[in-house]
């Protein structure tokens, strides 16, 4: 069985700020990390390998600039068997349509993939669209927002898919694409041996030329959406500070809530 896990290198968004004068991103001092949701996808790939009796190959893939290789090394350090980087200027400017197309072509080239795992969304764009997009391009069923794999055989899967008020139990044949939420597992830490192995590993880089892609379906040209502008969100004005005896504070805050028709 082959399991592909799609991961993304993202800026640690907690530190991304916009320069209010120029409305541009300030990237200095912003660290690049593995998208947090993808860590759960990597872990689940490893657990699939551990839970099945038959041999399983786990492959981590990412699309991005050459430095995105770092997230693949991290996946290798955790125990993923192989890693492939898709990197080509031709992919620059890809939106979720073009990204999911390119990744699906990569997965097709890997061949005979049974399970594709993605984090539910990336924390930079927060779209949650690339997973379902890959499923459609590949023509395989999807189960989004998976919080538990109840059963997995080489033929089928039963998984719990998180909804607002509970969950759906979904059964699907393989191959299948899953996007996972944080609740699904507790990611492990890399071992020393894993780190050594990751450091030494040769990671192949594929370019557009390696894939059977239509030139007008990748990168900016293949992207139906464009970012028109970015700007800093309006910040709240300074709020009111209430201090003093709890009883007095209570009177004041409750009267404010009344004024705002919130109680």
């Amino acid at each position: 069985m082959k399991v592909v896990v799609c991961i993304k290198q993202v800026p640690d968004t907690t530190n991304v700020r916009i320069n209010p004068e120029t409305n541009t991103l300030i990237r200095e001092g912003v660290e690049s990390i593995v998208n947090p949701f993808d860590e759960y996808a990597i872990e689940e790939a490893l657990r699939i390998k551990e839970r099945l009796d038959e041999p399983v190959t786990t492959i981590a893939v990412t699309m991005g600039p050459p430095q995105a290789e770092a997230v693949l090394r991290q996946a290798l350090s955790l125990g993923v068997d192989e890693a492939i980087l898709l990197s080509d200027r031709a992919f620059a400017g890809s939106d979720t349509w073009a990204t999911s197309y390119a990744l699906s072509k990569m997965i097709e080239k890997i061949g005979d993939v049974d399970v594709v795992l993605c984090g539910k969304q990336a924390i930079d764009g927060d779209t949650a669209q690339v997973g379902p997009g890959i499923a459609v391009h590949l023509g395989v069923p999807q189960i989004t927002f998976v919080k538990k794999i109840e059963e997995l055989t080489p033929k089928k899967i039963r998984a719990e898919r998180m909804m607002e008020e509970g969950y759906q139990v979904v059964e699907s044949r393989l191959p299948v694409l899953l996007t996972v939420v944080k609740e699904i597992n507790e990611p492990r830490l890399p071992s020393i041996r894993g780190k050594m192995r990751a450091k030494k590993a040769e990671i192949p880089t594929w370019t557009a030329a390696n894939l059977d892609v239509k030139e007008n379906s990748i990168g900016l040209k293949g992207s139906p959406t464009v970012v028109h502008k970015i700007y800093a969100p309006e910040r709240k004005k300074d709020g009111r500070v209430l201090e003093g005896e709890p009883a007095d504070v209570a009177v004041e805050i409750v009267s404010e809530l009344k004024r705002l028709s919130l109680v």
């Binding site: 939106d95 924390i123 930079d124 927060d126 927002f145 139990v169 969100p233 709890p246």
Partner: protein
Amino acid sequence: MSIRIIEEKCTGCTLCVRACPFAAITMHEKLAVIGPECTLCGACVPACKFDAIELTVEKREPVDKTKYRNVWVVAEQKKGVVQSVTYELLGAGRELAKKRGSELHVVLLGTGMDGACDDLVARGADVVHYLDHPAFEHYQDEPYSRVLCRLMNAEKPEIVLCGATAIGRSLIPRVAVQINTGLTADCTGLEIAEDGGLMQIRPAFGGNIMATILTPDHRPQMATVRHKVMKEAKPDPKRKGKIVTVEPLKEDAYVRAKVVDLVEEIESTVNLAEADIIVSGGRGLGTPEGFKLIEDFALALGGAVGSSRAAVDAGWIPYSHQVGQTGKTVCPKLYVACGISGQIQHLVGMQSSDTIIAINKDREAPIFTVADYGIVGDLYKVIPAVIDRLNQR
């Protein structure tokens, strides 16, 4: 498609460096160099006063936009009940249709929902496309997306809106890819541009920046819209509209990923997505028992209980309550943060709430930077006093 600096023209003035939203341009020996961070957004091209940046873009064949008309809303129903996010989409959709001088359509997939169709008309739909079939009782990815693709291809709407819910965010990306058009996720604002296009406004980078997205050459323009941001359309029983029956095809019910069970585990007091008021507790509670006080407070206010990641990681409360980057993004009318210091991971999940009250001992806590009312004090003294006051009324 490519970008390049015309070296003979570049004067090394650095105007482009400042214009680049992605910090992708650097200066080397007084020449601009475009790095791998470049997304080909084109912001640098007009910024250069010397025409030294050349962006060549050959787009795909654009569609004939004049063939696309009307605003469509994809209704969301669970157990035969139309979800309130649909009414919000109708409110937003009505405004857009007015500006475009077009009709507002709703598509509803379900079974036994004739009454809901009338209600959708009363709330502003000019046309309701209704598919009534038992196979569509519960949401399933494949049948739902198959029918929507067929309708979109046949009816050619100009704009399609859907809720940014668990269902909407699974369904609509499938449809958009299948019918080869653009989709913008989780919009908090929608406007019509001068050229008639849809400006899709959304937060990115965890809410630290806002972006306006366009779908210039493809139709329909599709967006999922964040729940509780748009105003609900109110029903007017006098409104008239048309209900069109959508006939399911035999193959529509075919599924590979089949829903075999629905499990409700979250009582309404935890459904953060639907709550108008949320009271959250964090590490400052000190003990898991502190959530008893948070529950009492939520009860007194008529709200749901949320929490910070720290409290979930400590095992004090289940993950379904977690608000923030790896939990839920919420925007209720009132958010009360109790004993939450306000790490950015938490703030991005709640900072767009209408009114925010923070209760914390530490007056330097970052939560106060987003709070409308900051109460500095011991939550174990403040909250009981506020509950008392609420119960006195």
